[in-house]
Symmetry: D2
Subunit: 118 residues, 4 copies
């Protein structure tokens, strides 16, 4: 049985546009439990890295060493973002395209991709 906040893959009625606060949302495709667990694990590791940087700042460690750790967290967040985007394009956006509502879903994806661009 699916929880209310995790509709099974494909449960979102194709072609129906989910609206949230007025903004467009592509029909959402849930992560599998394994995917969610993998994402949580990444996030927990990042949270640990952030706490480590906090300790480096408290101890006034050498600037370059702190910067190197900040850069490592950025890389970890980049990798997390790629995983989320991969799921989004293969899941939500593909569903939207297949149900004839691709244009808005693609525009939304382009907007978020731009946030991670240079």
């Amino acid at each position: 049985m699916t929880s209310p906040r995790k509709p099974a893959h494909g449960a979102a009625p194709d072609g129906e546009l989910a609206e949230s606060g007025g903004a467009y949302h592509a029909p959402s495709v849930a992560h599998t439990d394994a995917q969610t667990a993998a994402l949580s694990k990444r996030l927990n590791r990042i949270e640990g890295q952030i706490r480590g940087i906090g300790r480096m700042i408290d101890d006034d460690r050498y600037c370059v060493d702190i910067l190197t750790q900040v850069s490592a967290v950025q890389s970890a967040l980049d990798a997390l973002a790629r995983k989320l985007l991969e799921h989004h394009l293969h899941g939500c956006v593909s569903h939207a395209v297949a149900s004839g509502n691709g244009a808005r879903a693609i525009d939304e994806a382009l907007t978020v991709i731009r946030k991670f661009g240079r």
Copy 2:
């Protein structure tokens, strides 16, 4: 009185190269207590944002909304890195240059700047 891990500004003997694990370190210039407090505050806010993303993943929230939050954390880390680099160039690197050891300090700075470049 300065704590052992927070030498007062300028306490590092000019011209002396701090070595850490064999790698070059410019003479370190401590952050003031106010600077450390400001950096810690930024870090605490980032840690809160990371925990928020963790909850969004647990709740399998819409991918684009999670990606937007990840991008916000990246921006906050970029701003933190700029603050650290600013201190490093104005403090540690300037001291190294003034004491005739600028070349290695600048090479080290260029290496870390590259990690945040595109």
Copy 3:
């Protein structure tokens, strides 16, 4: 009449995978003449900027002024890349998804998006 190298929009047989040198290609969707003209105009402007930087280097102009121009070219190339990606997702990738070959087209798009990411 369409030229051999510019198939009309939709001319690519849906579902057929174009292969080029063994690598996967999504069915290509041609740019309209107006789109091609706009892209060429952008490119010509960028070429002019590059020649301007060449003159600045020959004249040994101030480093920061040259760097500022290099950064302007990077922004112009980012904007060009966004236009190309927009066309690619709305055209080629959407066609691939609609014809049931979306997975490979999306993987290919993710790979190229990553090249422009941080």
Copy 4:
């Protein structure tokens, strides 16, 4: 003999602030002829790449192939910018610091570094 627009290394009077259009400029340190030749060679190669992209657009080549070339030009420009920044920090900024005018030179460098940051 040095040309008027290429003062020999160190010819800029230490401590004198060059002003250009009202904005601060660190005392400029000329590139050697070998450095200028190397930078010009990089630029010429980039100009050739840009013309290649122009032909790909005229021929309406596959989007992903064009994007890959745009990304290659971005990398080449990044490498050029790193060379320019390297010269700027080792030359102009070091001179400014050594002559007691480091703070403004470093602020200017931080501003331009930010343009290449993420």
